[in-house]
C-alpha cells in the first residue's frame, strides 16, 4: 500500500525524473533488441504505452487535458469571452432569483434544530382565535409534556421607545421567560430574561434585537444597563440578541423583547394575541403530534367552554408559517414561477453557447482529426471538448454569481421605507453558491454534450480532406433547431414580462378613490409615550387643532387607519334589520376611525349625506359613514342614510349611517370592498395617523419638527401617501414582479438575437459557394438576399409559433398574479411577437446583405 503512494507521488510530482528513467530503460532495451533482430522497436510508442498504465496516469491525463483546454480557450479569446458572458448572464439571473427563493422559503431560522420548532395555531370553529393567556400556556405545557420539551409564548406589539429625548416606534414582542431558552439562542451582549418557565415575569427589562441595536444605538456596547422608556414605563436594557436573529418571523425584525408580565399592565396595543411556540421532542412524528394535539384541544375546549369552544390546534413549522394564512404558500408559487422563468433564460444561454461551440467545432475538425490520427481515442477527444465547455461554464458561473450577488443586493435595497422593520436579506449563502455551481455544471452538460459528441465522431479521413464546406447538413439542422427553441423561449419570456408590466401599469393607474398627491402620513402612538385614553385623546385633539394652523398645511385630519397603511382593521357587519347569520360568517368590512375633515383632506367624495362634525362626540349617538360598495350591498337603491348596521365585535351598539363616501381601494389585487368610517371622537385608538395635505413647496420635515415640539415623547414615523401606495401593502410586489420579468424577458431577447444572428451568418457562409454560382448565372442581389432571409425567417417563424403556445401555457399559470389583464392578453402577445420579429429580422439582415454582395469570382475561387 505504502509503495503505491510513493510511486503515485513520483509519477505525479517527479514526473520528469520518472520519465527520464523510463526513457533510458526503454532506450537500452531498443538498442539491445535492434542489435539482434530484424524489426525495429520504436521506444516512443513503447514509452506512451507504459506511461499510460502507470499509477496516476488518469489524473495526469486530466491535468494535461485541462491545461490543453485552457490553452485552446486562450487562443480564441472572443469566443471564450462571448461564452463566459452568456453563461454569466444566465447563471446570474438564476442565482439572483434563487437567492430570493432561498431567503423566503429555504433558509432555516438561525436556531439550533429549527425543524423541531413550531407555532401552535389556535382556531376556534375554523377561524383564528383570540390568542392565549399565561394560564392557558401553562395548561398547554402540562398537557403536552410528552410531545414538547417546552412551550413558550410571544405576542407582537407596536410600542414607543424613548431614549435620551427621542421617541420612536418599537416593534416588540412580549415573551414568556423560557422564550429564548426554547429557541436556543444566546445573547450577543448582556443577558436574556431570568424567570423560569411558568413564572410570569414582571421585571421591567428590555432585550434589543441585534439589527435594532445597530441601527438605533449605533452598536454601542454601553447601552446594556441603561434605562429607556417604553410606553411611558422605565425599563432597563439587559441584553442584545444574536446577529441574524429576527425573532419568530424571518420577514420582519422583532426589535425588542419584554417580559410577558408587562403586557397586562401597560396600556399597550398588541397587534396579535399571544402565540404558543413549541419545541418538539426528538422522535415525535408529525402524525403522532397532530393526533395528540386533537386530544389536547378537545380537553382544553371542555375545560374552558366559554373561552375555547370549538378549539382546534394546528402545528405550523417555523419560518414562513406565521405569514401565510393557511392554504398553500403564495411565496412558493411565485418563487417557483420565477425560478422556472430564469431557468428558461439559462437554457437560452446554454443554447447560445452550444451554437457557438458547434460553429467553432467545424473550424476545429482538422485539429480533432490530427489528434485522432496521433492516437487520441474518441473518449479522449470528447472529454477534451467537454472540459473546455466545463471551464467556460465555471468561469461563467463565477462571473454570474458575482452579478447575481450585486443584483440581489440591489433588490434587497428596493423595498421602500415603510416604518415596519422588514427583513429582506437576499444575501448569498452556501446554498446559493451550491445552486450556482450546480447550474454551471448543468449548463456545461446542456451546452457541451453535443459538441463533445461531434468531436468524438470526427472521422479523420473526412476532415483531413481539404473540404472547406465540410461540416455537413446535420450540424446546421441542429443549430437551426436550437435557434427555434431560443426564439420560442425568448418570446415566451417577453410575453410574460409584458403581462407583468401591463399588470403593474394597470395597478398604478387604477383609481384608488382618493388623491394621494401631497398627502403625508405621520403615524403616532400616544401609548408609546405612556398616555392613557384620556390623556391620549387630549393630545390628539390638541395636535389636530394646532396642525391646521401650521404653515404649509393645507388641511389636516386624524385617522386610525389609512389606505395602504399598517393598522388596517376589519369586522363582520350586517344590517340591523337582517337576522344574524347562522353558519356562514358575516360579510366583512374594513373600518377606520377618522376625524372631522378626513374626507376633505383625502379628497374622498361624499356621495350622500354628511361627513363627521364636532357634534359627533362621545356623548352623541353612534354614527358611521359607509362606502358606496357597502351602501349598495346592504341598502341598494340609495336608501342608506338613516339605516343602522351592527358590527360582529360589538353587536350591542348599532351604528346609524349619516353619509355615503366614494369607494377607496385598500388592496390593489381586489376591487374596493365594503368599508365604513366612525368618528374618531367616538372610538379612541392610541395609534393614529395625522393625515396632512401639504401646500406646494412645504416639507414634511417641518411638520415632523412641529409634532416633536408639541410633545417629544410620542413616537412618529413619516411616509408620503405615494410611498405607502408603492410600499409593501401596495404596488411593491407588482413592481418587483414586473422588474424581474422584464429583465428576464430582455435577457432572453438579447440571447435570441445573438442566436439568430449566429445561425443566419453561419448558414450564409456555408452557402457562399452556392450564392456565387447563382450570381454568376445572373441572379440579382435581391434574390440572393431573399433566399437567405427566407431560410432565416422560416426558422424564426416556427420558433415564434412555438413561443406563442408556450406563452399561452405560462400565461394561464400566471393569470392569478395579474390584475386588470388576462394571462392571454392579446395586445401583449401581438406587441411582443412584433417586437421579437423585428429584432430577428434585423439580426438576419446584416449577414444576408453581406452574402448578397458576394463576389462570384471570389466565392468560386474558395474551392
Amino acid at each position: 500500500m505504502l509503495s503505491r503512494f510513493r510511486f503515485l507521488g513520483r509519477n505525479l510530482w517527479r514526473r520528469r525524473q520518472a520519465d527520464a528513467d523510463l526513457e533510458a530503460e526503454l532506450g537500452a532495451y531498443a538498442a539491445e533488441m535492434n542489435g539482434r533482430r530484424r524489426h525495429s522497436v520504436r521506444p516512443e510508442q513503447l514509452r506512451e504505452e507504459v506511461r499510460g498504465a502507470r499509477l496516476g496516469a488518469g489524473i495526469e491525463g486530466w491535468a494535461r487535458d485541462l491545461r490543453y483546454a485552457g490553452r485552446m480557450l486562450r487562443k480564441a479569446p472572443l469566443v471564450t469571452l462571448a461564452c463566459v458572458a452568456t453563461f454569466a448572464l444566465g447563471i446570474g439571473a438564476n442565482t439572483l432569483v434563487f437567492s430570493m427563493a432561498n431567503a423566503l422559503l429555504l433558509r432555516p431560522p438561525p436556531m439550533p434544530h429549527p425543524e423541531q420548532l413550531a407555532f401552535l395555531r389556535m382556531l376556534q370553529h375554523g377561524a383564528p382565535g383570540a390568542g392565549v393567556d399565561a394560564a392557558q400556556i401553562e395548561e398547554l405545557r402540562r398537557q403536552t409534556r410528552d410531545l414538547y420539551s417546552g412551550v413558550a409564548s410571544s405576542s407582537l406589539a407596536q410600542l414607543g421607545l424613548s431614549y435620551r429625548g427621542s421617541a420612536q416606534t418599537l416593534w416588540a414582542s412580549y415573551v414568556s421567560g423560557n422564550f429564548f431558552g426554547l429557541l436556543g439562542v444566546r445573547p450577543a451582549l448582556g443577558r436574556f430574561f431570568a424567570a423560569p418557565a411558568g413564572v410570569v415575569d414582571r421585571a421591567p427589562e428590555l432585550v434589543l434585537s441585534y439589527a435594532y441595536w445597530r441601527s438605533r444605538f449605533g452598536g454601542d456596547r454601553g447601552v446594556v444597563g441603561q434605562t429607556a422608556t417604553v410606553n411611558g414605563r422605565a425599563v432597563t436594557i439587559v441584553g442584545v440578541g444574536p446577529k441574524g436573529f429576527h425573532g419568530i418571523s424571518d420577514l420582519f425584525d422583532t426589535q425588542g423583547y419584554l417580559p410577558q408580565g408587562l403586557a397586562a399592565t401597560a396600556g399597550t396595543s398588541q397587534v396579535m394575541g399571544a402565540i404558543p411556540l413549541v419545541r418538539r421532542r426528538g422522535g415525535v412524528s408529525a402524525a403522532a403530534e397532530q393526533a395528540e394535539l386533537g386530544v389536547v384541544a378537545a380537553r382544553l375546549a371542555q375545560a374552558h367552554p366559554q373561552q375555547l369552544h370549538g378549539l382546534t390546534l394546528l402545528s405550523v413549522p417555523f419560518g414562513i408559517g406565521l405569514i401565510s394564512s393557511g392554504g398553500g404558500n403564495p411565496f412558493g408559487v411565485v418563487a417557483g414561477l420565477f425560478l422556472a422563468l430564469s431557468g428558461l433564460v439559462l437554457l437560452l444561454a446554454a443554447a447560445n453557447v452550444m451554437g457557438l461551440l458547434l460553429a467553432r467545432a467545424s473550424g476545429r475538425a482538422r485539429e480533432m482529426a490530427v489528434r485522432s490520427a496521433l492516437g487520441a481515442g474518441r473518449r479522449r477527444l470528447a472529454r477534451q471538448v467537454f472540459l473546455e465547455t466545463l471551464l467556460l461554464a465555471l468561469g461563467g458561473g463565477a462571473a454570474g454569481m458575482a452579478l447575481g450577488a450585486l443584483g440581489s443586493r440591489a433588490v434587497s435595497a428596493l423595498p421602500p421605507h415603510s416604518g415596519f422593520p422588514l427583513v429582506l436579506d437576499f444575501g448569498f449563502d452556501g446554498r446559493v453558491f451550491l445552486y450556482g455551481l450546480a447550474m454551471a455544471g448543468l449548463v456545461a452538460l446542456a451546452a457541451g454534450l453535443a459538441p463533445a459528441w461531434r468531436a468524438a465522431g470526427a472521422d479523420p479521413n473526412d476532415a483531413l480532406r481539404s473540404d472547406r464546406r465540410g461540416g455537413g447538413g446535420s450540424r446546421q439542422r441542429l443549430r437551426s433547431a436550437l435557434v427555434v427553441a431560443q426564439v420560442a423561449g425568448s418570446l415566451a419570456l417577453l410575453i410574460v414580462g409584458g403581462l407583468f408590466v401591463r399588470s403593474l401599469r394597470h395597478a398604478e393607474s387604477a383609481p384608488v378613490g382618493f388623491d394621494p398627491g401631497h398627502v403625508w402620513n405621520f403615524s403616532l402612538d400616544a401609548a408609546g409615550a405612556g398616555y392613557d385614553a384620556a390623556r391620549g385623546g387630549q393630545y390628539y385633539a390638541q395636535l389636530l387643532a394646532q396642525a391646521r394652523r401650521w404653515p404649509g398645511v393645507e388641511s389636516a385630519s386624524l385617522a386610525q387607519a389609512v389606505p395602504f397603511g399598517l393598522n388596517s382593521l376589519g369586522t363582520g357587519v350586517r344590517p340591523e334589520s337582517a337576522p344574524p347569520a347562522t353558519g356562514t360568517p358575516a360579510p366583512s368590512a374594513g373600518t377606520s376611525a377618522v376625524s372631522e375633515g378626513y374626507f376633505a383632506t383625502m379628497r374622498i367624495p361624499l356621495l350622500q349625506g354628511r361627513g363627521f362634525n364636532p357634534g359627533d362626540n362621545a356623548a352623541a349617538a353612534a354614527v358611521a359613514v359607509v362606502s358606496e360598495a357597502m351602501a349598495q350591498r346592504f341598502w341598494p337603491g340609495g336608501h342608506a342614510i338613516g339605516q343602522r348596521f351592527v358590527r360582529s365585535n360589538d353587536a350591542k351598539h348599532p351604528l346609524r349611517v349619516v353619509g355615503v363616501a366614494g369607494n377607496v381601494v385598500t388592496d390593489l389585487t381586489e376591487p374596493a370592498g365594503m368599508f365604513f368610517y366612525v368618528p374618531e371622537a367616538q372610538s379612541y385608538s392610541a395609534q393614529q395617523t395625522l393625515v396632512v395635505r401639504l401646500a406646494r413647496g412645504a416639507t414634511a420635515a417641518a411638520v415632523t419638527q412641529a409634532i416633536a415640539r408639541l410633545d417629544a415623547n410620542v413616537p412618529v414615523s413619516v411616509q408620503s401617501m405615494e410611498e405607502a401606495i408603492g410600499g409593501l401593502n401596495g404596488l411593491f410586489v407588482f413592481d418587483l414582479g414586473a422588474r424581474l420579468a422584464t429583465w428576464l424577458g430582455l435577457l432572453g431577447l438579447a440571447l435570441a438575437l445573438v442566436g439568430v444572428y449566429g445561425v443566419v451568418a453561419y448558414g450564409a457562409a456555408q452557402r457562399t459557394h452556392e450564392m456565387g454560382v447563382r450570381v454568376a448565372l445572373g441572379a440579382r442581389p435581391g434574390q440572393v438576399l431573399g433566399a437567405i432571409l427566407r431560410q432565416a425567417l422560416g426558422i424564426v417563424g416556427v420558433g415564434m409559433l412555438l413561443g406563442l403556445l408556450l406563452a399561452a401555457g405560462i400565461g394561464k399559470l400566471v393569470g392569478a398574479f395579474l390584475v386588470g389583464v388576462s394571462g392571454l392578453d392579446p395586445l401583449t402577445f401581438v406587441v411582443a411577437s412584433l417586437g421579437l420579429g423585428a429584432v430577428a429580422l434585423a439580426a438576419s439582415l446584416l449577414p444576408a446583405w453581406r452574402a448578397a454582395r458576394v463576389d462570384p469570382l471570389a466565392a468560386l475561387r474558395c474551392e
Binding site: D21, Y29, Q45, V50, A53
Partner: protein, 109 residues
C-alpha cells in the same frame, strides 16, 4: 517456429514473477527467459512486458535497480521483493487449482 498462443489474462504477471524467482533480470532477459521456459508457446510484446514490470514495481512486488548485463550494457534489473515472493506462491497455488479443475472438466465425458 513454434505455435504461439495469446496469453490468458493474468498469466503474464505470474510468469514474470516465476522467471525472476531465480535471479534478477532486465527486460530483455525476462523476455528471453519467458520464451525459453514456455518453449516459444507464449510470446510477449515489449509493451505488455514493460507495462507489467512497472505495474508490479508500483505494487511493491518487484524492486528495480540499474546494473550491467553480461555483454556490458547498462540496463534496469528487476528483482522479487518479499511481497513478490509471497504473491508468486499464492498465484502458483491458484493456478494449480484452476488448471486441475479446468483439466478435469474438459476430460469429462
Amino acid at each position: 517456429m513454434a505455435k504461439t498462443t495469446e496469453l490468458l489474462p493474468g498469466t503474464l504477471d505470474v510468469l514474470i514473477l516465476k522467471t525472476l524467482a531465480l535471479e534478477p533480470l532486465h527486460g530483455v532477459g525476462v523476455a528471453d527467459r519467458l520464451a525459453q521456459v514456455t518453449q516459444g508457446t507464449f510470446r510477449v510484446g515489449p509493451g505488455s512486458l514493460f507495462t507489467a514490470l512497472h505495474r508490479m514495481e508500483e505494487k511493491g512486488w518487484l524492486s528495480a535497480a540499474w546494473g550491467e548485463t553480461r555483454e556490458g550494457r547498462r540496463a534496469k534489473f528487476y528483482q522479487l521483493t518479499r511481497a513478490g515472493r509471497r504473491r508468486l506462491e499464492q498465484e502458483t497455488e491458484r493456478w494449480k487449482t484452476i488448471a486441475l479443475a479446468v483439466g478435469r472438466a474438459l476430460e469429462l465425458r
